[in-house]
């Protein structure tokens, strides 16, 4: 898998939000590569910047956000240098699609599922023939496992349950045959049995369409179910990246280790839960060095001074921590 071509590459990305209370550095010095047919999971707690990454890639950030530096290379193009028109007509929703936690975000409540889907297909694929569009619509609804596609296509978003609506949103996202799908917490609002159905569907579609996927979640279990690679973020900074099983079985960063220890398990009996003392740092007032240093047991002097860089410690497994490397000191 790792030998396939890189389809999306994020380099030294920095994103800030400007608020009345000050500047929030939402993403700092983030780099990663996404290969064809691969699924990368960005895992983090609230304020880790994981959702900002997704919105930056499709250039749908709120107006108070400024991309302070970096590149996002897709198919040889730097997405950050494209005009808004080029982004809308060529990339967003066509080459790179996104689904959200709340599937209703994909739909206009005044249009039926079928109308929304036909619009996307007409606009992005340039199909004019009504019969062909209709065929494509029903075909997509069938692909995502919706029973009775005819009825679903005539339904308004409020007439469908959460699980069905998320399936319909996936149908919209995949109808243009995109190369990359970004899924931001797509199962967080769903019950576990429905979550399992949607994760299964995404896994199946990934194979079928040879999709590359960026999966954003706070749930390590969900990450383990769908991903080839995991990227752990904390307070806007990447901490650890590597193959899924490797990161989960042999985590290197103290934060990843702690995070795994404080998750209660349904499939195994655990002793008393460990927890991470303290709180997430105030995003307006981040510590100078490693943002985890104030909560980290193995923090030393240097951790409070300078942000460590990601360094590949094992093959394909990188970590940003002075305990494992000199932190990219030059």
């Amino acid at each position: 898998m790792s030998s396939s071509t890189i389809i999306l590459s994020v380099k030294d990305l920095n994103v800030n939000y400007y608020t009345l209370e000050g500047i929030i550095k939402a993403v700092r010095e983030l780099s990663f590569d996404l290969r064809k047919g691969e699924s990368l999971c960005i895992v983090g707690e609230s304020g880790s910047g994981k959702s900002t990454v997704g919105l930056t890639i499709i250039r749908a950030l709120p107006t108070n956000a400024i991309i302070a530096g970096g590149q996002i290379i897709f198919n040889g193009l730097d997405l950050l240098s494209l005009s808004d028109e080029e982004m809308t007509s060529k990339i967003r929703g066509k080459e790179i699609s996104m689904i959200f936690q709340d599937p209703a975000a994909t739909f206009n409540p005044l249009f039926t599922i079928g109308q929304t889907l036909s619009d996307v297909i007409r606009h992005h694929l340039g199909i004019k023939n009504k019969v062909k569009i209709r065929e494509h619509v029903l075909n997509m609804l069938r692909t995502v496992g919706l029973p009775d596609p005819e009825r679903v296509s005539r339904s308004y978003p409020h007439e469908l349950s959460g699980g069905m609506l998320q399936r319909a949103a996936i149908a919209v996202a995949l109808s243009t045959n995109p190369k990359v799908l970004i899924a931001d917490e797509p199962t967080t609002m769903l019950d576990v049995t429905l979550q399992a159905q949607i994760l299964d569907l995404l896994r199946k579609l990934k194979e079928e369409f040879n999709l590359s996927m960026i999966f954003i979640t706070h749930n390590l279990g969900v990450a383990a179910e769908v991903c080839d690679k995991i990227l752990v973020m904390y307070a806007g900074v990447p901490f650890e990246e590597g193959p899924c099983d490797e990161v989960l079985l042999r985590p290197m960063h103290p934060y990843t280790k702690k995070l795994l220890e404080c998750v209660p398990r349904a499939h195994r009996r655990v002793g008393r839960l460990r927890y991470i003392p303290g709180m997430l740092p105030d995003p307006k007032n981040l510590p100078k060095g490693c943002p985890f240093a104030p909560r980290c047991e193995s923090a030393t002097e240097i951790c409070n001074k300078k942000l460590p860089k990601m360094v590949e410690v094992r093959p394909g497994h990188s970590v940003a921590c002075y305990a494992h490397s000199s932190g990219g000191e030059h």
Binding site: E45, S46, P147, S161, G163, M164, D191, V192, T193, L194, Q195, A196, Q197, L199, D200, H218, N219, L220, G221, V222, A223, A224, E225, C244, D245, L248, L249, K258, L259, L260, C262, V263, P264, R265, A266, H267, R268, R269, V270, R272, L273, R274, Y275, I276, M279, L280
Partner: protein, 324 residues
């Protein structure tokens, strides 16, 4: 010792239509639910949305009047309590809800929030209540300096600690925890779960935990009831239920929980339930799971199975386990 005894609890919500609000049907949110909670025991009700678990909790908190059935607390039926007896009951049964920012008054200072139940129920002076409140805040792991702050100054975890301190203030016997950690980050969730565990031991508390998160349920409960469409379909001591689930619904529910440990993942067998839970307005006849059940038999669509005890303390509502 049994603290709470729920017997055949029913709660139907009428559906009204038309100008005169004619009743055209009922949502049978809770349909004949029975269980016990012992002193100093953690009992969990787990289920998906629409299973009726929160409605059960609200009946116990007397936020709803049950349609039928009894709720016996310390030997007295509380469904028709009034006046002083009701006030006494409210003192002994407290609640912590999912979103602390909705359950804490945003215009009140933290210390006032925690001392309010003391002033309402006990004959004590304001200064004494304030002192007790500060002590409670410290017990739940908050610094006394937060006492003069407002809820909006707190993080989610801190606010939930305030809600717990308020629930503890009157030294209750039972605390109803309705999804107490669902709105929190995992690292904070672990702190709150540990705190709840310590408090139950220290104050000899019982909990009724309402949750959809099976991993939280396994961690903190002594016994678990699994709900589906208004019924308890299986009930057992926690480890028995998680290691040896009998009801097809419990099996499917457990197998759907994603597991972060890759070595355990491979051992797991996935059982998929097709479709989504049907509406509680017209629940399926017979066993309510039968249209989705992978082990459905002929009898399941005809007759509702009884809840039978297969081993001591392990009850299941499924025809598979009924001996002919």
């Amino acid at each position: 010792m049994t603290l709470l005894n729920v017997v055949n609890l029913k709660k139907y919500f009428p559906i009204r239509r038309g100008l005169f609000g004619r009743i055209v049907g009922y949502v049978k949110a809770v349909d004949s639910v029975s269980f016990n909670i012992d002193e100093n025991e953690v009992f969990s009700l787990v289920g998906e949305s629409g299973s009726g678990k929160t409605t059960v909790a609200r009946c116990i908190l007397k936020l709803y009047d049950p349609t039928d059935g009894r709720i016996v607390f310390e030997g007295r039926d509380i469904t028709r309590l009034k006046g002083r007896d009701l006030k006494d009951y409210r003192r002994k049964v407290q609640a912590v809800f999912q979103n602390p920012f909705l359950s804490l008054n945003p215009r009140m200072r933290i210390a006032d929030i925690v001392s309010e139940p003391l002033l309402a129920h006990m004959k004590i002076s304001k200064s004494k209540a304030h002192k007790a409140a500060v002590e409670l805040l410290e017990r739940v792991g908050l610094s006394a300096s937060l006492a003069r702050r407002f809820p909006s100054d707190l993080s989610g975890g801190q606010a939930q600690r305030v809600a717990i301190a308020r629930a503890l203030a009157l030294k209750p016997k039972l605390i109803v925890l309705d999804e107490p950690t669902s709105a929190l980050d995992v690292s904070v969730q672990a702190q709150i779960l540990n705190l709840l565990e310590d408090l139950s031991r220290e104050y000899k508390l019982s909990y009724l935990l309402i949750s959809h998160d099976l991993s939280v349920v396994r961690y903190i409960s002594d016994r678990v009831g699994v709900m589906y469409l208004g019924n308890i379909v299986e009930e057992a001591p926690t480890e028995v239920l998680f290691e040896n689930p009998l009801h097809p619904y419990t099996q499917a529910l457990l197998s759907a929980v994603p597991e972060p440990d890759p070595s355990l993942k491979k051992l797991r067998k996935r059982i998929m339930l097709p479709g989504e839970p049907p509406s509680a307005i017209n629940p399926p006849k017979g066993c309510r799971l039968h249209p989705r059940c992978p082990k459905v038999m002929e009898i399941c669509s005809r007759e509702e199975p009884p809840l039978i005890e297969v081993k001591e303390g392990h009850k299941v509502k499924c025809w598979l386990y009924v001996k002919k």
